[in-house]
Amino acid sequence: MALDKLVDSAQLDSDLTSVANAIRAKSGGSGSLAFPAGFVSEIGNIPSGETYLMAPKTGQYYVPKIEQTLTGYVTNNYGQTGRWGGCEDLEELIIHGLTGLNNVSGRICASCPKLKKLLLPDLAGSANSFVVTSCTALTEIQLGSIGHAMTGLYANAFSGCTNENLVITIYVKDTETIPLANSPWGATNATIVYRSSTDGSVRTP
């Protein structure tokens, strides 16, 4: 052990607390962190990139934008309010990596009064569930993208999303018959835009 520096222990404690507070602000945790193992562990648990942590936990109901990466095909039941249901200040929800929804009782979210934009660019195939319901401020929904083609949606996938300015963009294969069955899937006032999953061009029936 090299004893070659004088340390102001009070200052060191204060500095470590500052770092710990910064970590807790990102992780959403509130417990004490032991140095260094606790710091290292907690930092390692923070997702990389522009991902926002969403459980949702206390306080996370009030973020205006969530961009998150999920993995694969989600068949579990997020419940009647959805995983992000009731997030009061949520305006944009962008979920990468979500390739499927397959539980009629689940949904991405419901009753988010300020939600304007929902993008699920990696969704593909048939979504046999609600997607988003009772979000009356929604003006933009995107399902799929180039290389990710939708083939169908549950009849009431957008139940209660009644905004007259809502535009639902759905990527489909060039060979897919449009309109897809049951459109506009409960969104009574929506404008539908079918785009080619090959080149993004707009298709008309």
């Binding site: 009647q80 319901t133 009772s134 009431n156 139940s159 209660g160 309109p179 459109s183 506009p184 009574t188």
Partner: protein, 83 residues
């Protein structure tokens, strides 16, 4: 049952809103009245885009509970309100 004209072109596929560059589509949007559903055979919906020539095949019926839905979800479909 309410029948809405649909428009196409001008960068969109189907819309109940007319705008520059859009022309009237051969499709219309059928919307069920409150507490009702649209029915064609075994197919049910609260609203649906159909060819004008197919309108006669749709009728309106009292809302039927989807066995996969809870009462709260069914309520939300009918009234579009919070669950």
């Amino acid at each position: 049952m309410t029948t809405l004209k649909l428009y196409t072109g001008g960068g969109i596929s189907l819309s109940p809103v007319s705008a520059e560059g859009r022309t009237e589509s051969s499709y219309v949007r059928l919307v069920a009245e409150d507490g009702m559903m649209l029915k064609k055979g075994e197919q049910y919906a609260v609203c649906v885009d159909v060819l004008k020539t197919d309108v006669a095949n749709w009728s309106e019926t009292e809302y039927i509970d989807d066995p996969d839905l809870t009462d709260a979800e069914a309520f939300a479909i009918i009234f579009g309100g919070a669950e």
